[in-house]
Amino acid sequence: MKRSALISGAAVALATIACLYLLQRLLVPKYQTGIVEGSMVEEYYRETTDHEVLCIGDCEVYENFSTVTLWEEYGITSYIRGSAQQLAWQSYYLLEDALRYETPKVVVYNVLALKYNEPQSEAYNRMSLDGMRWSSSKVKGILASMTEEEHFIEYVFPLLRYHSRWDGLASDDVEHLFTKDLVTHSGYYMRVDTKAQTGFPPPAPLADYALGENAMSYLQKMTDLCREKGIDLVLIKAPTEYPHWYGQWDEQIASFAEENSLPYINYIPLREEIGLDMRVDTYDGGLHLNTRGAEKMARYFGAYLKENYDLTDYRNEEGYASVWAEKTAFYNQMKQRQYDELEQYGRLVSFGSNAIQ
């Protein structure tokens, strides 16, 4: 092959790769407004300080605990590595991934997702896994999570997955081509609006109440990993009632916790003690807490953490205090914006599903 042909080939190949890279950046969902849950996992890597408490799990962690309240009330540095419908194996690999960067004193795992024993949804998989940095944990997480319709290569080259978004591009896609705004507060997803809990459908009887072996094996792995790293693992069930948390499941988790000498706290029966009023402390009819509820939950849970674990009050340490001051300011600013919108429109317009472009 002639030299000129080689040069032309190399130049065209480079231009093509650059073009495909830009197209990929453009077409990958940005998760900046509306469904912001897809941004949560990658936000973790923007943290500049470590955390003594790391929460992992699904929406029952990232919507129910205010990390800023934990800081303000107790000086606890915490992060919620949550994502929508985060399955047990995803939690494990996200934990494994986080432990590459820091070693918290306490890891908190919300047990609701243990009811899923198999991969569930491609869309949720993407939101939990796309944001992870490449590592063996991510590879294993993808392999453990893929549904039948998915292909590993589509995670390696997200363009193959999102190419069809070309006809649905919005201003967010251009605006956030290279940079993204924070959408959470150390992993906490803020919603200040209120929609009272009115009731849920009665729980349907199940054919089999045993939690799946696959899911439970990952809980065991989390337990072992924490033990190996000298981290205290706390199992919790968030105080929200729906999806229904069956007594049989609760017993199995309690039994697992006992066998592994782990604390397990089911907060559903403790709602009164926490001070939760589901007429005003939830934004979606009782599925998740609003900020008011999440702050109450954080106060209660923070007291438990302080009492039972040797956590440092970092409020007087300059390095942490300045970082958390920024976080607190951002938290308060967003809270105010949300209240302003509520006052002006009677509902949130720039947050949640109303903000989908």
Binding site: M1, T16, L20, H151, E154, H163, S164
Partner: protein, 527 residues
């Protein structure tokens, strides 16, 4: 493994790299291993069928050639034989060869018939018995591409029988001819004499061949993934909801299906030929701008060319010159006059060809009816030839651009209409739906947004229109100037590489693949 799967792209890429890395003498054995691997990945049980066809064809071809050799030697060692004795001797040898050929054909066509047509026969027997008895259908494994490789292999054996082709004495080489993976599942139906010229010899890396081949592969993917797999959503919707989509919708379905089939089938063939070309192997062309045909006969000389020539060489000619047909020819000339008498055996042979073509396409009445409709149209146009001549004598429009455009559109619409049997897959339903085009046609369907409710969005239509424009542009260029790739290659390299890059980007962005799209099998894979 679908051509459009990531697995196939990885498989073909790895094979192409390995092909030029191994010593040249190992290239064809590598292809053989890859072909068997490709087939085994689909279902390892298919290999059994493939081996039976390969081994039987190998043994029979060798036997046929041995018998021919025996005959030659016998005649050489017996120079004193009279003409009658020689004729008798040749007839004896020919009878022996015929028995071997027949055995081979019965075995292989029998496998094809049993695997593909058993349940069709059972359904029809049950229908005929009107519930008096009910035969259970059977669960039979239908090997992928069996129609293609069986016909290709039997063509080889018949050529050896006819003395047109030397028997391949290396079983593994023949095995590669039978199983060559790019063309195995949807053709083209190659001839041994053609394919073997480049299949077994070593090929040094040739940048031009690789560039040309890969460009054609990309062009195939563009047609398949960007156009065929996108328009299929609309086609499926239109043909599944026959109560709602009548009249103008049927017309739309007819056009959409014509484009889908063209892009699907020619796209698959482009991938096949391009991949082979990248490895230095020449595979027979299967299409030559068929939608530019001015009449049906020309259309069938341009569409699925290798199938057409196969049926001509191995069905039409043998049937035309078989003893009963010669007798019929004589009888019809005596009783129906010279003009009609000559046509009867030709038409009958033609009928047999189209009947078998229909049956070959699928075990269903709609395919048989499709074949017969083709026969009817061809015969009608033949019989109406005097009328056309009178018309042209009076109106000298032949050769003029508007008339040629009319001919092209007429042929396209006629063939698209006949293809509706393939589309609806139900003979009475097809007649009914085509009938509604003439009784319930509403022009408003094209203007009131109805076509945005058949599963295709405005964006889909934009992609399809752009895709059609590109395909039409390339086709017009080919018709007028020849090879587009050659023209690109004559320009600075950056142009041809740029065209490849553009195709790649278009496929990756506008292709209907991945999550949210069904991975659509090539239509001709099922044959």
């Amino acid at each position: 493994m679908l051509f459009t799967s990531y697995g196939f792209v990885a498989f073909a890429s790895a094979l192409l790299a390995a092909y030029y890395l191994v010593p040249r003498r190992w290239q064809w054995p590598l292809l053989l291993a890859a072909s068997y691997g490709f087939y085994a990945l689909a279902d390892w049980r298919y290999l059994f069928f493939l081996l039976v066809t390969t081994v039987s064809a190998y043994l029979m071809a060798v036997r046929l050639e041995d018998i021919a050799g025996e005959q030659k030697r016998y005649l050489q060692t017996h120079p004193a034989l009279t003409r009658e004795e020689k004729r008798a001797c040749k007839a004896g040898f020919k009878a022996r060869k015929w028995r071997w050929l027949l055995a081979c054909l019965l075995l292989n066509m029998g496998i094809l018939a049993v695997t593909k047509y058993t349940n069709f026969v059972i359904h029809n027997v049950n229908a005929l018995l009107h519930g008096a008895a009910h035969l259970q259908t059977v669960d039979i494994l239908v090997p992928m591409g069996i129609s293609f490789y069986t016909f290709q292999t039997m063509g080889y054996v018949i050529d050896v029988y006819r003395g047109k082709q030397a028997a391949e004495r290396n079983l593994f080489r023949l095995a590669l001819f039978v199983s060559f993976f790019p063309q195995m599942v949807q053709g083209p139906i190659s001839r041994y004499g053609d394919l073997s010229r480049t299949l077994y010899c070593g090929h040094p890396f040739d940048g031009k061949a690789v560039t040309f081949g890969l460009t054609r592969v990309l062009w195939g993917y563009f047609k398949k993934v960007v156009i065929a797999d996108r328009i299929i959503t609309g086609v499926t919707s239109l043909i599944q909801h026959t109560d709602a989509y009548t009249g103008a919708y049927v017309f739309v379905a007819m056009l959409f299906y014509a484009f889908e089939l063209y892009c699907d089938f020619t796209g698959g063939i482009d991938i096949t030929i391009g991949l082979a070309e990248a490895m230095g192997i020449r595979v027979a062309e299967n299409f030559h701008l068929p939608y530019f045909s001015k009449n049906i006969k020309e259309y069938w000389n341009r569409w699925h060319i290798t199938m057409g020539t196969w049926f001509t060489d191995y069905i039409f000619y043998p049937v035309s010159v078989c003893r009963p047909m010669l007798k019929l020819s004589k009888w019809s000339r005596e009783h129906l006059g010279q003009a009609m008498g000559k046509r009867v055996p030709v038409y009958l042979s033609c009928f047999v060809v189209w009947l078998t073509t229909g049956v070959w396409h699928g075990a269903a009445w709609n395919f048989i009816m499709w074949g017969l409709m083709n026969f009817a149209v061809i015969m009608a146009s033949q019989e109406l030839e005097p009328l056309y001549s009178r018309f042209h004598a009076r109106f000298p429009v032949r050769g003029k651009a508007p008339y040629e455009a009319f001919q092209i559109i007429r042929t396209f619409l006629l063939m698209s209409c006949v293809r509706m049997f393939d589309c609806y897959r139900d003979v009475p339903l097809t007649f009914r739906m085509v009938g509604t085009m003439f009784t319930r046609f509403r022009f408003s369907v094209f203007t009131d947004g109805s076509l945005l409710k058949i599963g295709l969005s405005g964006a889909d239509y934009a992609v399809l229109l752009a895709g059609f424009a590109v395909v039409l542009g390339v086709s017009l260029f080919q018709a007028r100037y020849g090879s587009v790739r050659q023209a690109l290659y004559a320009r600075p390299r950056a142009v041809s590489y740029g065209a490849m890059a553009l195709l790649l980007v278009a496929i990756l962005i506008f292709g209907a693949y991945g999550v949210g799209y069904d991975s659509t099998q090539f239509i001709y894979n099922q044959f």
